[in-house]
Structure formats: C-alpha cells, structure tokens
Amino acid sequence: MTTRWAELLPADIQVVVAVPDSLLGPVVARVVDASTVAYVQVVHESQAVAVAAGMGLAGQQALICMENSGLRAAAETIARLTVLHQIPVLALTAHRGEFGDPNWWAQDHSHHMSGLAALFGLPTRAASSTAELTEALRAGIALTGTRMRSALVVATAGLLKELHRELH
C-alpha cells in the first residue's frame, strides 16, 4: 500500500482538532505534515467537540480525531451542543475494542461507542481502507452540511495498523 497522505482527508477539511491516541495519532500527524490542514491539539475530548462546533458555526470545516472512548468522555458536550443546540460536528475515531482486540482495557470501547452513537443519533460509517476512509469523511461532510446531524467515521484497527506499517 502506498498512501497519498495529503489526500487521505478530503480537501474540505481545514483543521483537525485532536486528542492524540496511539492508533490514530501517528496517522493524523503524518497527514498534517503532508498537507495544509491545520492542527489543534486539546486535552480532553469534550474540548475537541466544543472547539470543532465553534469552528463550524464560523464556517470552518473541522475534523475531530480521537479514540472511540472519547465519545464517553465527551458525552455531555455532545448532548448539549450537537443534540440540544444542533451544532453538527464531524468526528473520526480509531476503533478500539473490535472483535479480536487483544487489550483488556479496550473491551468495552466498541459497544459503548455503538450505544452512544445510537443514543445521540450519530450516523456512523466504518472504514477499513484508505479509499473507504476518504469517502466516508466526504459523506460525513455532506451529512453535517445539512446542519441536522453530526457524523462519526470509525477507522478499523486493521486499517490503522496497516498505515502504521507504512509509516515505519
């Protein structure tokens, strides 16, 4: 696989707002290095959601990058801003806790992610290839552009590990 890093994110995405994690973080860093997308690193997923919501209000397309456990951490902010106030955001998460994940601490992440996405009415699409990832983000932008719902793209651990191999 030879990834075109600068084209992994759709060009409409102007800024990444991230809480780094070991699966998604190095990939995001490589994309930021290769492209003109701006990068803001925050200390908590609720901050990422709120900052991205504010950017969206002012016309900037942001992409939140975080581990899927970040949905739990940001649950109240998601409920307030994206549901109650209907300010849409676009998020990309690494899929921790999917079938076969060897880490005990990740075992709840996947079904909590699914449950929270259902609870908040977050349309979700999984991506297991770079083409699927780019297309899912493009679809997410279209969806959030309706200003009706936020969108969640979930990168499989398999895709992210493959990208890691290419990084090293």
Binding site: V40, Q47, G54, L57, R80, G145
Partner: protein
C-alpha cells in the same frame, strides 16, 4: 456592581461590534441585555470557552470574540483554560470573561467553591493575561491587564432574583440567529442545506 452593570461597563469599552458566546444564568442574561443579536447563549455548562475559541479561530482576526460565563461554568470546564493557552495565537483578540458571584445561582444558589481560589495564579499558570474588577470604574484597567488573550474576572453581587428569560429563542433557534449574524457581519458562508428542492 451587579452582573448587568459589569457587562454593561465592558460593553461601553468594547462597543457593539463583538462576537459573544455566553453560558447559563446571569452571564447570558447580562450578555443578551448588552449585546442582543451578537450573543450565542449556550445551555452548556463548561463548554462556553472552547466553543467561543472555535468561533474566534475561524473568524478574521478583526473579530473581537468573548466568552461570557459564570465562575461555576468555568470551574466545570477548567480544561478550557488549557485550550485557551493552546489556541492563543489563533484567536487574538480574545477575552474569557468570568462573571464571578461565587455562587451556583442557577443550581440552587449555593456556593460555587469552598476554598480560596487564586485566579491570578490560575491564569498565570497557563501563561494567560489576567485582570479583575469589582466595580465598574475598574473594568477598563482590568480589561487592559487581561491583555489581548486572557481572563477577565468581574466580581459581582446580584441582590435581586434573576428575572425570567426575556428572549424567545430556544437553543436551536439561537444557533440559527447566531449563524445569520456571522454571515451578515463577517461574511461567513452558510451553504445550502440540501442539493434538491
């Protein structure tokens, strides 16, 4: 000074042409009183500062942006100070206004803290400018001390009960109005929400 007088003093200094994101209770009451049509009132304790930072980062630097929230809201979302410090070069001029009555007025009118809080040290820990005022005549100096990116603490005493809401918009309608204001004043594009009629 009370909350409305404190924000009124700030309004007199900054004028009408600002962008405001406000939090629950007195903060929104005072902000809407002095900046109607410029304020996004959020029912989101602790999220006011980062939302305002996102707005400020996306707008031209000529847009003076404020977050206006109570001390309880800022304490609820203290991570916002880290975000403010992180984004300081992207958001100037930006002022995080804290309307400090020392109470959770909207949450049963109980104390917001049971410990002495050194606000100046708190702001300094994040490398942020800081100013404080407990009377309207001191607001100008406090705003200057808060520098171009910093925290402005307005110490207030509200002796009268908070009046019922005087505005009619709900949370989604408020967002709609705020978007329209940003489009009109700052040229923020609102894309069509559909591709087919």
């Amino acid at each position: 000074m009370n909350s409305t007088e404190a924000i009124g003093a700030l309004r007199a200094l900054l004028g009408e042409d600002v962008v405001v994101v406000s939090g629950v209770g007195r903060a929104t009451y005072a902000a809407l009183r002095h900046w109607p049509g410029r304020t996004l009132p959020l029912d989101a304790l602790g999220d006011v500062l980062p939302v305002a930072l996102g707005v400020a980062a996306a707008l031209p630097s000529a847009a003076r942006t404020l977050s206006v929230e109570g001390d309880g809201s800022l304490l609820f979302g203290m991570a916002g100070l880290a975000t403010l410090a992180t984004m300081r070069d992207r958001v100037a001029p930006f002022t995080a206004v804290v309307v400090d009555n020392g109470r959770y007025e909207s949450g049963g009118d109980v104390a917001s803290r049971h410990f002495p809080l050194d606000w100046a040290a708190l702001a300094a820990a994040f490398g942020l400018g800081y100013g404080t005022a407990d009377r309207t005549g001191a607001v100008a100096a406090a705003l200057a001390a808060a520098t171009s990116v910093g925290v402005l603490r307005l110490v207030v005493h509200d002796d009268t009960p908070m009046p019922p809401p005087a505005w009619s918009a709900n949370g989604r309608e408020a967002v709609y109005d705020f978007r329209r204001m940003l489009a009109t004043r700052w040229g923020v594009r609102i894309p069509p929400a559909a591709t087919k009629i």
